[in-house]
Structures are given as C-alpha cells and as structure tokens.
Symmetry: D2
Subunit: 122 residues, 4 copies
C-alpha cells in the first residue's frame, strides 16, 4: 500500500510537513511533561527526548533545551522538580518531499504559555 497516496492525497506537501511536525510537538510535550529532572539528569533527558521524537514520521531533526535557570531555582528539599512545558525550548524540523517546516515551542512570557508555532515554513 502507498500510504501517502491513499491517506494524504488531499493535502499539499507543505501541509503534510506542518501536520506531522505539529503531531510530534504535541506528542513531545505530553509524553515527557512530569518527568523528574534536575541539573544532574537534564542532559540525559534532553537527549532521550531528541532521539525518541526523531523517530516520528517525516521528522528530520529535534533539538531540545530545558531551561537551566528554572532548575537552579528548585527550592524544595528533594532537589528535583517535574518537567513542565514552561521549561522547554524545542525545535522540530519536519520534511515531506520538497517541503520543510520548523516548528518551535517556547514559553512566551506575555502569554504565560508555552506556544507552538511555525518558525519557518517552505
């Protein structure tokens, strides 16, 4: 079966890249939100998020930065916190044939919300 022909012939190449990139960003947030994290473990978590999410369809590259300042501010006696979306700065590059999208998620202070949007789209 040609999946692209059968299931995706109603959208353009550009729309396909946008769609798959959006799926991956939503997936990333909700899979890893809540994971215990501190300055010691943060790098292994960033790396696992990157490698896991790069497996998704049409995803070419994922870069994840977890905010170190927010980890330095942990004040509870247990010395770690739960990952939340406000700590994440992520870029997902999705490619379908000749079209490429760069999806960004970052915390926008004015919105008090981790916004997902298209940083680049071709």
């Amino acid at each position: 079966m040609d999946v692209d022909e059968k299931y995706f012939n109603n959208i353009s190449q550009r729309e396909r890249a946008i769609f798959e990139g959006g799926i991956t960003m939503g997936a990333l947030f909700h899979q890893f939100d809540g994971t215990p994290v501190n300055l010691k473990s943060v790098e292994s978590l960033e790396n696992a998020i990157k490698e896991a999410m790069e497996l998704q369809p049409c995803v070419d590259k994922v870069d994840v930065i977890i905010n170190r300042e927010m980890l330095e501010d942990i004040e509870n006696k247990f010395d770690y916190t739960s990952l939340n979306g406000n700590m994440l700065d992520v870029r997902v590059v999705s490619v379908y044939r000749d079209s490429k999208s760069v999806i960004r998620m970052k915390f926008i202070e004015e919105l008090d919300y981790p916004l997902m949007y298209l940083e680049e789209v071709e």
Copy 2:
C-alpha cells in the same frame, strides 16, 4: 498582543487548522497511552479525553472511541489492561476562521500502526 498576527501570519487559515489539529492528536495519544482501562472504566476515560482535548487551541470537537472488543479480550488475572494507541479511534475537529480540518486516528491493520491523517479538510 495579537498572537495570530504575530506568530501565525506565515501560514494560511487552512494550514493553521491542520497544525493545531495535529498538535492535539499527538498530545492526546501520548497523554493517555498507558492508562489502566477495562470495560467498566472505559466510558469515563473516553469522556475525560474528549473534555480535556477540546480545551486545546482551535479545537472545536473531539470524539473518542476505545475498542470494546480489545477490552473484552483481556486475559490476565488482573482484569484490566493499559490503553494503547491501537485501541483508539479518534476524530479531532479543528477550526480556524473559515477553515476546518477533521483529523482522524485509527488503527490500520495493513500498516500495523495507528495512523493519523486528514479525513476532511476545507
């Protein structure tokens, strides 16, 4: 701040609906995958998934059906299983201004995979 003007002026209305619908479908899968479920609890889970995911930006309606046959087949002695994507049949309707997308996720036997695709797009 006009979020749409500032962050989304590089994509069309139709692309925006596709993008937001994709995010929500990825989020839904990865938030609820793994939840304990059986025939007794399944309706409350479908309902919570629906109500939670309808809160996402541009999402107008979410319909979730969890496969009862797969729940009837549970054979372990604990009488429940973990929700996995293969059990899910979901429709997410996302709307941005005059554009509407219907995103579908369902298990495709030939692919052995729960595929996400655009069932309708205007």
Copy 3:
C-alpha cells in the same frame, strides 16, 4: 499459579497494602500530569482518574480532588492549564487481606512539594 504465594511471600500483608498503594499513587501522578484542564473539564478528569486507578491491584478506592482555586487563577488567554501535581489532593485506599492502607498525596506548602505519605495504616 498462586501469584501471592510465588511473588509476595517475603512481605507481610501490611507491607503488601503499602506497596500496592505506593505503586498506584506514583502511577496516578505520572499518568495524568500534563493533562489540559479547566473548571469546565475538571470533573470529568477527576472521575476518569478515580475509575482508572481503582483498577490497579489491591486498590479499593481512589478519591481525587483537583484544586479549583488554582484553576480559577488561570490567566493565559487560552483559558486552560496543564494539570500538575501541586493541584492534586488524592487518597488511595489499598487493601490486602486484613490490612488496609490509606495513601495520601497533597501539596505541602512548607515543602513546596506534593508529598505522598501514609495517612492511615493497619
């Protein structure tokens, strides 16, 4: 196979209730943390958490309250937030034969942390 005899004969009935209750509390937190929620959806989420987690081995009853005040304080323009552990007040009653444990999770202000502990143990 007698699971209890084969796998649990090295702990007391009381310890078994404590063990299973602890598992369920850890599971609950990490399954649902990150779920979109607001005042409109909160009841369906509480109900789904309760019904899902009551399926776990030895778990007799789960009561979940999500903090409404924290939901009233949502100030972003999207009118919902992500569930986090600080919003949760949960009681898990686990029973094994003659032993009963009541596990509690609640946010402790002094600790700035959602603590899990034994509220009652018999």
Copy 4:
C-alpha cells in the same frame, strides 16, 4: 520541619523503603509508557529513565533494560514502536536508613502482565 518525623512516624524503616520503591516503579511505568522507541534510540531512553527515576525520594539506584528482541520484531513501515510495560525489565533499589528494598518489574508470561514485586527486602 522534619518530614520523616512528621509524616512517616507511623511506618517502619522497612515499610518506608517499600513504599518509596513502589511509588517510583508506578511512576516509571506511567511516565514513559508510550514513548517512541527503536533499536537506535533505546539506549538513550534507558539512560534517561534511569537518571530521572534515581532522583525520587529514597531511591538509590535504578536499572532499566528494554527488550531488544521486541524491538527487532517491529514490522510496521515506520520502523519504531511505542514503549509498553511488557518490554521493560526494571530494578529499583530504595533505601531508608538501615532498610533496603529491591523492587523488580518484569513481564511474566504466565500472567500476561508486567508484574511489580519485591525481589529483595531487608
């Protein structure tokens, strides 16, 4: 505040180790279940799970093995699958003062279920 004195004086040292180990095992399963994984990414995921879960209270050591044979069997065209509990073999060592517990989770074929139990308890 002395947390141990205030919240945990109703259980023994041994029970505390069992309780905290159980929490961590439940948390681990439900945090990471559903993560995209294949043979290429599996090591980074095992490592992140280990480092994240070792942050939990009283947890001394976590060892995680994801079943490679199950990853080799992936037959869908997307070349990855979602992590599920049946693929996991985990040991959590929890210590409270003089007491140590080793919690194990592994798939038990007879039960068709990933069982969590005490492998050692002192």
